[in-house]
């Protein structure tokens, strides 16, 4: 196994396996991560008329569609004293982050092969940069949601102080899945086709258009294995005051941490081969 270690000034490339210095290296090169995030955002909205407004328009339009189809036609009831639009948008904001990050991050390595074969830097930064740029969109979306709530005269409960915890969980889950998918896509291009389909499936497996209370009790643990299920449910509790479903959140949190560990591990184990495969 091949590992490099940075020990102060000394870099060791050893084919016989030596681990360490990974986190400190990430810290030392953190500026690169920020500049990659900045590049992704800058490039994404270059030559668009609406620019970052797209980060608002898409969830808003989706909300409109979902409200008509699932709220009006299918008559799905929200899980509290608020309108269906407010209900579904609370789910769409974290979901948009998750799905965008997966889609962009999953392809990020193969879209930037030229970087992998020409220069060394912590490879994690490529998918992490894509996730980071989606996070900026997420924050813009969250601010917009605050405006929507103000107009709807909804005051978040005290539990809103736990929102940052949920956001961290959301990042952990997203980063884990994205690292895993990005690394898999380098070796198995099949994932180019799997990811968009998987995202669609997961969307219906998450409580976005329907409340989590609709899921029968005996399947709730299975439902919770999708980390976004608990996180989205938690968002509604923190922002809209729906009663907390701690069991669901606990399962999803455990799942998020597990996926993160698997994602980082798989990525670390395969990144040494990226330049040869890409």
């Amino acid at each position: 196994m091949f590992q490099t270690r940075e020990d102060g000034n000394l870099v060791i490339i050893d084919s016989s396996g030596r681990i360490g210095g990974f986190v400190s290296e990430l810290f030392a090169r953190r500026e690169l991560l920020f500049i990659l995030i900045w590049r992704d955002i800058k490039v994404r909205y270059k030559q668009t008329v609406f620019g970052v407004l797209w980060a608002l328009l898409i969830p808003l339009l989706q909300t409109l569609i979902f409200t008509v189809i699932f709220g009006r036609l299918a008559k799905i009831k929200p899980d509290g004293p608020y309108s269906y639009s407010v209900f579904t948008l609370a789910g769409l904001i974290p979901w948009t982050f998750f799905s965008q990050a997966l889609t962009l991050g999953g392809q990020s390595l193969i879209n930037q092969q030229h970087l992998l074969t020409k220069i060394y830097f912590p490879r994690v930064f490529v998918p992490a940069g894509a996730v980071g740029s989606c996070f900026v969109d997420f924050m813009v979306g969250l601010l917009m949601y605050a405006v929507v709530l103000t107009f709807s005269r909804i005051v978040p409960p005290l539990g809103v102080v736990f929102l940052p915890v949920l956001i961290i969980l959301m990042i952990v889950a997203t980063l884990g899945v994205t690292l895993l998918l990005a690394a898999l896509t380098v070796t198995y291009r099949d994932f180019k086709y799997i990811i968009p389909f998987g995202v669609q499936v997961l969307m219906y497996a998450s409580p976005i258009v329907y409340p989590s209370s609709l899921v029968p009790d005996k399947y709730r643990w299975l439902f919770g294995l999708n980390p976004m299920a608990g996180i989205i449910d938690g968002f509604r509790s923190a922002i809209l005051g729906k009663p907390w479903d701690m069991e669901l959140i606990a399962i999803s949190s455990a799942s998020a941490v597990f996926i993160f560990a698997v994602g980082v591990r798989y990525f670390r184990n395969t990144e040494r081969r990226f330049a040869d495969i890409a």
């Binding site: 091949f2 870099v11 490339i13 084919s15 690169l32 030229h114 992998l116 020409k118």
Partner: protein, 413 residues
């Protein structure tokens, strides 16, 4: 006593690549469809642990050396000798299969100019992006910013997206950023081959400065032997993945020429019926003005049988591998040439002033007779077209796009 500090210490580096068992030339359409359907099953079997018999290829084998502080080491060898692979191992881009390297200090690798440049971003933005990718800190980039802009001479285009830059401007900016990287170890691949003569001089000056003033260690790959001679105190000669010589530049270059390295030719097909000997008049083909006719004397030795109906195709390609001209002898004479066994033959291939843009050019030579391929050689170092101008108003032809510079005329009507 040796008091110098070892900056790079490589011990027994080896790198193996696994080649697919399929031969590209054997693939036809039906076969590729069959494979496309078979592929999922093959991949699944691989996943299940079944190893498909594949060829192993050692790109590097048992490479050990040590480089001391302030040394400028040239890495030379023919195409495929393993130079790029070694650089990639040192630059931590690819893993060695065996062995160990110790690098003392920050490594800056320039395997390409402008790595990570984004066409949509402006020059200013790309300086920060590229600098960060190369390993510079933001504060360093800010400190060097004016010098970078000055070095690149892009002045008023600083806030223009680089996709609108001429290729010359692009390269200058990219190199300017890289030139202001100040790592303890600088690893440079063939990147200096780009840009006009004036700019190349500037880059060389900068490398010399890094070495002499800052005492940096430089590891350099180039096909430009003059540059190797001018910059390097020591050379490592690679041949088929192994170090065959490590010592003074003069001696290394001599050995390199002995290994037939000068041309860097790649034999795609070699047969005993006719063997490639080389270009006879290569020395006349250095620094040729672009408006002059080109003569290539292509020499072969014939095997132990007479050949009849021999045809030769000659393709001229530029440094990027783009085909510039393609000429087939059967356009001129349908019957081909007849040649005698055991003779040395020379085809004089003349091409009337192709008006090429300045730079190095290579030949692909393909000889065949009715029975099939006789010889197929690529990347034959053919000629370099000088940048000296044959136009009235400029001394040098630089910053042009395209691979040819036609005689042209402009008038105001």
């Amino acid at each position: 006593m040796d008091m110098a500090k070892a900056i790079i210490k490589a011990q027994g580096i080896g790198k193996v690549y696994t080649l697919g068992q399929s031969d590209v030339s054997q693939v036809n359409f039906r076969e590729s469809i069959r494979r496309a359907f078979a592929a999922p099953f093959r991949r699944l079997r691989e996943l299940g642990g079944a190893r498909i018999a594949a060829q192993e290829f050692w790109a590097l084998k048992n490479i050990s050396f040590r480089v001391d502080e302030g040394e400028v080491v040239g890495l030379i060898g023919r195409n495929g000798a393993g130079k790029s692979t070694l650089l990639k191992v040192l630059a931590r881009i690819t893993e060695p299969t065996e062995g160990r390297v110790e690098l003392r200090g920050r490594v800056g690798a320039l395997l390409e100019v402008g790595t990570g440049f984004h066409p949509e971003l402006t020059g200013r933005e790309n300086i920060f992006l590229n600098g960060a990718i190369l390993g510079m800190k933001r504060a360093e980039i800010i400190r060097e910013f004016d010098r970078i802009v000055d070095f690149a001479q892009i002045g008023r285009f600083l806030d223009t997206p680089v996709k609108r830059y001429s290729s010359g401007m692009y390269v200058r900016l990219a190199f300017a950023v890289a030139a202001h990287l100040e790592p303890e170890i600088l690893i440079v691949d063939e990147v200096l081959a780009v840009g006009d003569a004036e700019f190349q001089r500037k880059c060389l000056g900068r490398m010399d400065e890094l070495r002499s003033k800052a005492g940096r260690t430089i590891f350099l790959v180039s096909h430009n032997l003059e540059m190797i001679e001018a910059l390097c105190t020591r050379c490592i000669l690679l041949h088929e993945g192994r170090i065959v010589f490590d010592g003074s530049t003069g001696e290394a270059l001599e050995k390199y020429r002995a290994y037939g390295g000068r041309a860097g030719e790649i034999f795609i097909t070699a047969t005993t019926r006719m063997q490639w000997q080389g270009i006879g008049n290569r020395e006349d083909l250095r620094d040729v003005p672009g408006d002059r006719d080109l003569n290539f004397d292509l020499t072969f030795s014939v095997g132990d049988r007479d050949l009849d109906g021999v045809h030769i195709d000659v393709e001229l390609v530029d440094a990027k591998g783009t085909s510039v001209t393609h000429s087939k002898s059967r356009f001129l004479r349908s019957g081909g040439f007849g040649v005698k066994a055991h003779s040395a033959i020379t085809f004089r291939y003349t091409i009337r002033s192709p008006m090429l843009a300045p730079g190095p050019y290579y030949l692909i030579v393909y000889a065949y007779d009715p029975r099939g391929v006789l010889a197929w050689i690529e990347h034959i170092d053919a000629c370099t077209i000088s940048a000296r101008s044959y136009f009235p108003a400029v001394d040098f032809i630089d910053e042009i796009k395209g691979t040819t510079v036609p005689h042209f005329h402009v008038e105001l009507l």
